[in-house]
Symmetry: D2
């Protein structure tokens, strides 16, 4: 069940980094929905490698082919299957990856888990390459949400030690989220973005890499979605977002900062905002007791620095059981945070659509 | 499905804060396992209110009665049901809770979700009281794990702005974890613990509350558990830990701090530690690609400050739709982090046992 | 997961035949629903032993206690837990059951499955006694369905070789189903019922037992429920109905008889019945392609003869590994079909409510 | 979730009868398993149309392409995706299918369920065409089972009113099952098979169709698989087998015939068969209390007559809401039972592999 997710909208991801094809099956999409393939392809462009000078040299067209689930251009109730061909499919010698595990990669644990039968070619099913079908599947969900005026966006809250500006809660608008999506390097503060890019260039120059924090925002999410205990918005979002490789932490609202606050500071007072019950601050990040409050949904994800770096690293040769120095050849992303960002948006879209479809919300006739 | 969890070991939690009984059903426990009821009861004491001067005045014996699932004192394959009577079951007037939502509580969202039919008495099913059966269920799992030399422990990494000491990775031993379990206020550094308690007393004196961060540690977890994508150790643990009320963030290994590191610093070099493949550092927190590496499993959870505070708070009277000032009567925990800690250990136990039972790990004969 | 069922309405059953308590947890019930406890208790009376001269001597009050899930008498969103005390809870010597498996019972397979740790007292969790909480849980669902004018009823289509009359499809009405529920021995044809009872008496006089076929009918089920492939009405109903001990076959509409028909005979012509699209015959039993058609839902279940009989039986003493003759002491139901009947109705109610709550049926706003 | 199945081995089916591709994703297969593609293709030949004079004129190569899940020819832990191109993909005018529902087909219910957005081309996702990927997925599972000496086979117990011979329980051998697989028209009794084929020819000559009963047999299934209540072998097999279109009933062992037996006749006596505990008869069909007994697993499925017949049929024109006479053009299978047979074997293989992988069977170390 490792590559399956969702209760109402059910996703199956398949493929390996260097297999012939990768893809996804989405079962349970609402019917009668058009899929805008051009918009989907543009969304894919946002996570594509090679958008800037720092990205990996691998260049995939990532053209989405939908082979089922549509009839006359609309979802028809049948599971939707999308395929992406792997242009760059190699079967070179991977003895090195098999015997010499790269630090901070899944090479070693994958071998344990799959008893040395795992596909070692660039991580196989563990590769970041698999975020392509995940992103595509989620981007389809986002299209359905947008039609219902639910917007999901994200900015780079930090890259390494560089922080983006902090925006006032009430400045958040769907327009602002859309403008983020148009940026190659989405930040509130343009100069902060430039500092971040400089920091990435510096790391690259050192043969090193950096991580960062992505802040996800969803606006227009109806209040009252989710459930207490194990089926809350946080449970379901966290369970899904940890599927994106390199994510090491997830927090909602004030998150870890809340732990250092006093209750009088953290508790968000309810008030009437026009005809709408709202809170004056949003430390709770739009979720109380696992259920959406109608306030902006705020989630942050910590992304670790890219494990593949240019510098020589110490590791173990598992054949000889001797220490060895590993040099990872080729060009690698010194930072994957900006590429993980649209994938995170997409995963958020998948979970929100799944939540919207929970039958329990509808009281029986 | 909100109060259900688990793939192999399946948990159902039921009850309301002021109903007659709360409890849990656990289906799928391995058979032939003795349950040490005394040890279970002692474990429950760790989360019981009233252990110290700061805790809530509500005093429940929390005596666990196991009414099914055992035969001659051992698990027999039938689902185990445990019941806890609510001694302090009131049906006072709860108009106030219904109309005047307490900030940072689920009063408002529960009403939306359950169309005003929810039980408003102290949060009903949303109450921290429901962590009693959750803790009991997980504590049973921990007993099974301990027999297999898997230890789970936790310390208070911070309360408010006070931090515990940082321990060297190689200092972690099962003995040390056991000694933490014996402390009323589990910290590595006794003085830090005293500073934390002072900080809680100060908050209480101000009619206020504080939060904190719990660091969970699991030792002896076999390498190779978990799966990539949606069924990894992080996904399953995060999905479960967010079931504990007041948790706002979860991180693994270096977590959010990893986002500010460079790859050369964060990547943990593999080496041979005796006959065991290990890593020299443990920034990955025992999980790579969703799969355990055999290194200590490190999870941290951010707990927000107790929402119920003594001070008057601004909120909305939803009947009149006018602002109102709310004063929450009675005595309340100014800090629940130390009580949430054993519950988090228990939930971790539940997830680890579930992972251990995954059939996929066993290669077919 | 063995004693769990349901997607939207999730049921957990617990208990053993001679444990202190048996019960069920139902999570996901629609909110604001009154539970009529008197009606529930009356429903339970229908499956109670000792209603007639043939039934087992064991006499249990089967008083249902609901300890959670209600607030002011209505479902409140919290999981509903119901408990039934086992008055007749013995811990006699069960060496015989452990070593000398009763033919057609689960004694032998339970020991294999649970490695001799299973509770052998009258079948433990495998006992027909566990149909009490199952019936109670389903009967609650039936109350909700009845409010929406969905009626479920059943008659004894056969006991042993005696057949009930065949009713014209268009004779089926909710009133008729209700009148069945009032009969101790529900048949269309009273005389057939008397012949069946005579047949049971004859079997009892011979120290033997008989089985039979139950025909379940659901009226008022909305058209369009269910899904193709694995999530159809047949899949979900069959998966649930096989949970009732002694069921050996399930068929829909013409079922096995359909296999001997020609298409021209079996195909039900569509026509307009007033304003309603209907079929002139109902060989399809109300389900086409896994989805309800609006015609009466017709399901039949084959129940094997009660395995416990008075006559001596050949079996194996698993301690000595020698053949032995087993005599089952005490009084036993020579026929359990009439007691299984309300349980089957209840299980049908559970599945239909679960289907009604599928979120997918609602097109998104 | 309609086209998803399985707990440990998880299957997703996708595609429509006249879409570009159909296929399946299988997640959770044991690793290190070779897939014999030639044997797989030969298995597919058994369900292919056009094997005999009666079959549909549609001719598909059904060449299986595995695009993920293998590394160096062996399962590697990544989900396996198999694709089958639809050579015969038409987009003709389907107004007739949309407005004039074919009796006994899902045309009408699919429109209700999917709000007229369903793909009407030859049933879309409801088409028997979708049994191709289902068969392929199950056939892969069967290969794994065969390596563990678990054999699954089936014969045509009846076609219309013609019955196959009854075989003594002890005559069942893996060799016999293999020889069935080699027959175009698998029966125990060759002459019975000829009578069945004559009956099909007669029906075809009348522009009509016939159904039949398939008897599935699994040998070598380890005793002790499955669980009581909702997770038994019967529950899981029935839930899966009803996914095959046209199945209207499922029974185990003596099934519906058991309902007419007396207990003394039906109860299978235990005895020692060499070193193996067995039963002298097999009325229980290899399952007691939801758990395998080690005796041959016997399942029968009733398949209704092919709904598409050459004769004119009465139905409703849903546009004009008037009765109309429908003539289904083209050539159609007058009997699909022999084509459904390998698909049923495959589904049985899928469920048995899933059961084998249940973690609960392994007692923890």
């Amino acid at each position: 069940m490792s590559s399956n997710f969702g209760k109402n909208v059910h996703l199956s991801i398949f493929g390996q980094s260097h297999g012939t094809m990768i893809g996804a099956v989405i079962d349970g999409l609402p019917v009668g929905e058009e899929i805008d393939l051009d918009a989907l392809q543009r969304f894919m462009e946002r996570r594509a490698p090679g958008r800037d000078e720092y990205a990996t040299a691998r260049r995939e067209a990532d053209r989405i082919e939908i082979v089922s689930g549509l009839y006359q251009g609309k979802t028809c109730g049948a599971p939707l299957c999308l395929l992406i061909a792997n242009a760059d499919s190699r079967s070179a010698d991977y003895r090195q990856l098999r015997d010499i595990p790269r630090p901070a990669h899944a090479d070693y644990t994958a071998q344990l888990r799959y008893q040395h039968y795992n596909d070692p070619r660039c991580g196989g099913h563990f590769s970041g390459r698999l975020t392509a079908p995940l992103t595509a599947a989620g981007a389809i969900c986002l299209q359905l949400l947008e039609r219902r005026e639910i917007s999901v966006g994200a900015h780079l809250q930090s890259i390494g030690t560089e922080q983006d500006a902090v925006l006032a809660d009430d400045a958040l608008t769907p327009q602002l989220l859309r403008s983020l999506a148009g940026q190659k390097f989405p930040t509130w503060d343009k100069e902060a973005g430039e500092r971040m890019q400089r920091l990435i260039r510096d790391a690259a120059a050192d043969g090193d890499s950096v991580g960062g924090v992505i802040e996800l925002i969803a606006l227009g999410v109806p209040a009252g979605l989710g459930s207490p205990m194990f089926d809350g918005v946080e449970n379901r979002l966290a369970a899904a977002l940890f599927a994106v490789p390199a994510v090491k932490g997830i927090e909602f609202g004030s998150g870890f900062a809340a732990a250092a606050m006093r209750g009088s500071e953290h508790n968000d007072p309810f008030y009437l905002d026009g005809a709408q019950i709202a809170t004056k601050t949003n430390h709770h990040g739009g979720v109380l007791g696992g259920i959406t409050s109608g306030m902006p949904l705020i989630v942050r994800a910590a992304v670790k620095p890219t494990p593949s770096i240019g510098r020589p690293q110490l590791t173990l040769d598992m054949e000889s059981m001797r220490p060895t120095q590993l040099e990872i050849k080729g060009r690698h992303d010194p930072c994957i945070v900006q590429r993980a960002l649209p994938c995170m948006e997409a995963v958020t879209g998948l979970v929100l659509l799944d939540l919207l479809l929970d039958g329990e919300y509808q009281r029986l006739y």
